[in-house]
């Protein structure tokens, strides 16, 4: 059971691996409990785990939180969808046609280092305080990275795979549709999974200004009225939603790309 535990790069027993993960969670919970129940920290700054659970039950029973989740989810999803709809085709073109790469890589490489949150005042000036402004923040936070990552995925398509396709009679259009696209698809789905996770992290920033609902707004309000339990619950919900979407993408990946696994199905 305990064999190889401290040998570099060696496989260890499965329960040991899973157990290590659970232990870390429990340890965190234990520290938290000692600090809060033990009275070491003012409950105004760090509420106890029990307090969190009670508040969460209240919030879900009153139902307000469900509306917040729904509205936040649609903001993240729409902003991200827009980024993907433009970023994926553009990334593919950048990865295959040098001229498109030459035209867009420098500007995208430049803009992606600009903080999305700093653009909020401009977004408000340009497109107002409505839903589009929130989507714009999500879009801005993910589009540039996503496009560059898709470009890299497409660039990594084996050169010989493209060359052999020419010798089989493929024209340029067929090369895109029958070779480059299917070859890059697993990498693209994986890129979408990772960047959708990032989209969630921009939610609070997006709902910082001019919002009257959503999880980010809820968190800001709770902070204003000194309700750390609500803040923590909001953060945990965002984390759980992100994790859930991650698992969903992984399931899609597994179901769509069975050809990547030796057992086939």
């Amino acid at each position: 059971m305990w064999k190889n535990v401290f040998t570099p790069k060696k496989e260890i027993a499965k329960p040991l691996y899973t157990g290590a993960g659970i232990t870390t969670f429990l340890l965190l919970l234990a520290i938290w409990s000692v600090l809060s129940y033990g009275g070491f920290v003012n409950p105004l700054f760090l509420p106890s785990p029990g307090q969190i659970v009670r508040t969460a039950v209240d919030m879900f029973q009153s139902g307000d939180i469900l509306g917040d989740i729904g509205i936040s989810f649609s903001r993240v999803a729409l902003g991200f969808l827009l980024a993907a709809l433009i970023g994926v085709p553009l990334g593919i073109l950048m990865g295959t046609l040098r001229i498109v790469e030459g035209a867009f890589e420098p500007i995208i490489g430049f803009i992606r280092y600009m903080p999305a949150s700093a653009f909020i005042p401009l977004f408000i000036l340009w497109i107002g305080l409505g839903e589009s402004e929130k989507m714009a923040v999500i879009f801005f936070g993910t589009f540039f990275q996503l496009t560059l990552m898709v470009m890299d995925v497409t660039k990594n398509v084996q050169t010989e795979l493209i060359e052999v396709s020419y010798t089989l009679g493929a024209n340029r259009f067929q090369l895109f549709s029958r070779v480059i696209l299917p070859a890059s698809l697993p990498g693209i789905v994986d890129t979408l999974r990772i960047t959708f996770g990032w989209a969630w992290t921009y939610l609070v920033v997006a709902e910082l200004v001019g919002a009257s609902d959503g999880l980010g707004y809820m968190i800001m309000q709770a902070s204003r009225f000194l309700k750390p339990d609500k803040v923590i619950i909001g953060i945990i919900i965002i984390g759980l939603l992100g994790l859930l979407m991650d698992l969903l993408f992984k399931a899609i990946y597994r179901a769509s790309f069975s050809w990547m696994r030796k057992e086939g199905s």
């Binding site: 795979l161 396709s165 020419y166 010798t167």
Partner: protein
């Protein structure tokens, strides 16, 4: 005399690098007759792959011309099928769909494609593997499918760039026999690149030996072995004598490449 299937006419290739021009291939001329199996033998880095890539149309020659059936080639095309050393099957397609990829590009019906696939699966001894994906195949099986894919497209000439170079010695020997069987049945014209002396003799009607970089054809040798061949010929006196001669030639060139 009939016109040759493939004519390589004063083809040369230079690359421009940071340190100036590099001559990969000096002006080279040769021809391959219809149904002939020609091997090109050379030390590594001698430009033999460059030569094949120019014939395939994947590289522009710096000088000279390539003709297939008397027509000059410009760029790659389905008349010149190619098998690479690296595995180039489409991993997302089944064996059957890999083999008929070229046919599908031309809009051949599913029914006809299936028939063609069955024919070639039988030829390469992989019947029953039509629904497998490349990841489920061994290296030798992958290369057999790659050969079937190139042949199913019915090219005028089959170009092979060290297709068995990544396989272990035992598998390679078996692959050579399978390729000979396929060649005897299809009567395709084949241009085959290798650095393996035995392979060049066992497969070829005619061997071109190349010099170290810059590559040029040093010698053309007709292989005196009868057809059909099986692996027993690898121990015949004619085979061993030719092997000895070629080993000396290649050794000379390899030494040049090591200490210029």
């Amino acid at each position: 005399m009939t016109t040759p299937k493939l004519v390589v006419d004063h083809v040369g290739k230079r690359f421009t690098t940071k340190n100036g021009q590099v001559v990969a291939l000096e002006q080279t001329s040769f021809s391959v007759m219809e149904g002939e199996f020609v091997t090109i033998l050379g030390p590594s880095g001698c430009g033999k792959s460059t030569l094949l890539r120019v014939v395939a149309g994947l590289e522009e020659p710096s000088s000279g011309h390539v003709y297939v059936d008397g027509k000059e080639i410009h760029g790659p095309g389905p008349d010149r099928g190619m098998v690479f050393q690296s595995y180039t099957l489409y991993p997302w397609l089944t064996v059957e769909d890999n083999i008929t990829f070229g046919l599908q590009l031309r809009g051949i019906s599913r029914k006809e494609r299936r028939e063609v696939a069955q024919h070639y699966l039988e030829l390469i001894g992989l019947k029953g593997f039509e629904k497998h994906y490349p990841i489920q195949l061994s290296g030798g099986m992958k290369q057999r499918v790659a050969i079937a894919r190139a042949l199913a497209n019915d090219p005028e000439i089959l170009l092979m760039d060290e297709p068995f170079g990544a396989l272990d010695a035992q598998t390679r020997a078996i692959m050579q026999e399978i390729l000979l069987k396929v060649w005897e049945e299809t009567k395709k014209t084949i241009l085959f690149i290798t650095h393996d002396v035995e392979e060049s003799i066992f497969l070829g009607d005619s061997i071109y030996v190349m010099t170290a970089r810059p590559g040029r054809l040093k010698k053309n040798i007709k292989v005196p072995l009868p057809r059909p061949r099986d692996y027993h010929y690898k121990n015949s006196p004619e085979f061993l004598a030719l092997k000895q001669e070629l080993l000396e030639l290649i050794r000379e060139e390899s030494l040049k490449a090591v200490k210029p």
